[in-house]
């Protein structure tokens, strides 16, 4: 065939091999993740074109916040790094607590603060992103189911409640409940299942349903020790994929003004009598499901009028400060008992914890229940 004939009949075609496709899906790429109220709400791929950020609708990342300028900053790739550059915004862009002046490199896993939003640099392959999106959808469904089980706050009556619940991005195993047992007794409890994800959430739901329906055989639900023992017999970790849970369970007798309680591997709940020192309420006992036949104890205490009970999961105090210090219960306790009393108190405590922690979502579920006794 003559050369000219070859040119006339040349057909160009691309043939992607399976290996090529796999390689494309495995290649790591940089993303900017927008985080609002500890929740990732959008992910933007950073490619050759800079990502603009601002209040104006024409920007790649739109932040509808009056503190954000119409064109606030841009994020772009340069020499293998991701760089953030404030474009003369009125209120600034912040990195590690300091207002940036000039371009700054944003390492993987690090955050920028822009108005009320955080922007996080992540490196992910396409396959990882797809898998994460699918997992996120499943976790959102599981999280919605758990949230649907939580009782409504009580605004009036001899007992009033206020609570704040914010699951971690990985969806932990927190849940809580309270309800009348009879005309004179009310129970309240908080459970924390080990681990994260849909499995932990499913276990939480199973335990909560047993409690809500009083489905422990031959068990007086006014006896905390009996309830803990019954749950331990029903939910041994060897029979439930290695899952155990910690639990605080209390029963308030309205006529006697007496609170009975028991804890299984759980830190204390704290009772704040008016004008008095806080009282930690905890009984010795291991977590539920760790050992067959484990024994549990109950304690009891009087509840003066106007007292408040704070019941919470370890996610509220096992946080990390911006300089990397691990916090503990002693860091959290000063936030309790300061008020203001009433609806919103638990959310105000959450905001205080959030302010003291490093940027980004908290490491674990945040569950805080405040019970006030008239």
């Amino acid at each position: 065939m003559a050369r000219g004939d070859q040119a006339a009949h040349t057909v160009l075609a691309t043939h992607a091999t399976v290996a090529d496709v796999i390689a494309q899906r495995e290649e790591l790429r940089s993303y900017v993740v927008v985080i609002e109220n500890d929740e990732p709400i959008a992910r933007h791929l950073l490619d050759a074109e800079p990502l603009t950020v601002g209040r104006d609708e024409s920007r790649h990342i739109v932040i509808p916040d009056a503190r954000v300028s119409r064109l606030h900053l841009q994020v772009f790739a340069a020499n293998g790094a991701v760089v953030a550059e404030d474009l003369g915004s009125s209120n600034g862009t912040f990195y590690e607590g300091r207002r940036i002046a000039g371009p700054v490199v944003l390492p993987e896993g690090h955050f920028l603060q822009v108005g009320s939003r955080l922007l996080k640099h992540e490196r992910r392959s396409r396959r990882e992103v797809e898998r994460e999106d699918e997992l996120r959808r499943d976790l959102d469904k599981a999280g919605s189911y758990v949230r649907a089980l939580l009782p409504a706050p009580i605004a009036h009556g001899p007992i009033r409640t206020d609570w704040f619940y914010r699951p971690s991005t990985q969806l932990g195993g927190d849940a809580f409940a309270y309800d009348l047992l009879d005309d004179d007794h009310v129970y309240a409890c908080l459970i924390d299942v080990s681990g994260h994800g849909a499995g932990a959430a499913m276990h939480t739901v199973a335990v909560m349903n047993v409690l809500r329906r009083r489905a422990l055989p031959d068990t007086d639900f006014r006896d905390p020790a009996a309830v803990l023992a019954g749950l331990n017999a029903m939910f041994q970790m060897d029979d439930h994929d290695g899952l155990y849970f910690t639990l605080w369970y209390g029963v308030y007798c309205v006529s006697q003004r007496r609170l009975s309680y028991g804890s299984a591997g759980h830190h204390p709940a704290y009772l704040y009598p008016p004008g008095g020192a806080s009282v930690p309420l905890r009984t010795p006992g291991m977590m539920v499901g760790a050992m067959p036949g484990a024994r549990f104890k109950a304690g009891s205490t009087d509840v003066p009028p106007g007292s408040a009970l704070y019941l919470f999961s370890d996610g509220v105090f096992e946080t990390t400060t911006p300089d990397g210090r691990q916090c503990g219960l002693d860091d959290f306790l000063p936030l309790l008992g300061r008020g203001p009393e009433g609806p919103g108190e638990s959310e105000a405590i959450y905001r205080a914890v959030r302010q003291g922690a490093r940027p980004g979502p908290l490491d674990d579920d945040f569950s805080l229940l405040v019970v006030r006794f008239a």
């Binding site: 990985q170 080990s194 290695g242 291991m286 760790a290 691990q326 674990d364």
Partner: protein
Amino acid sequence: MEMKQTDVAADVLGISLHGRLDTPGVDDVETAFTDTATRAGRHVLVDLSDVEFVGSMGLRMFISVAKALSKKKSKLVLYGARPLVKDVFDTVSLGDIVPVADDADAARRAARG
């Protein structure tokens, strides 16, 4: 999360853990830790002096390995826990399932006792 092992004695294996035993940390070491400990055929002492945090998955790992070793008449003993970690152990009464000692010598005695 990192893991190192040392031969302490014919009947005792030492493992030291370094870092945070949160969910990602446990994901890093659980298979190797469980494998090493359960195949050792002897008591296992775990040095936690360089572990800054232990979460629920870390506790679960220790409980599971302790139960597996118990079936082989061996013990898992933890020691050297930092104050915050020790608080967690005390709260969950971990010592009722997995012995927790102050130092290596006490851990050896607890394993052989």
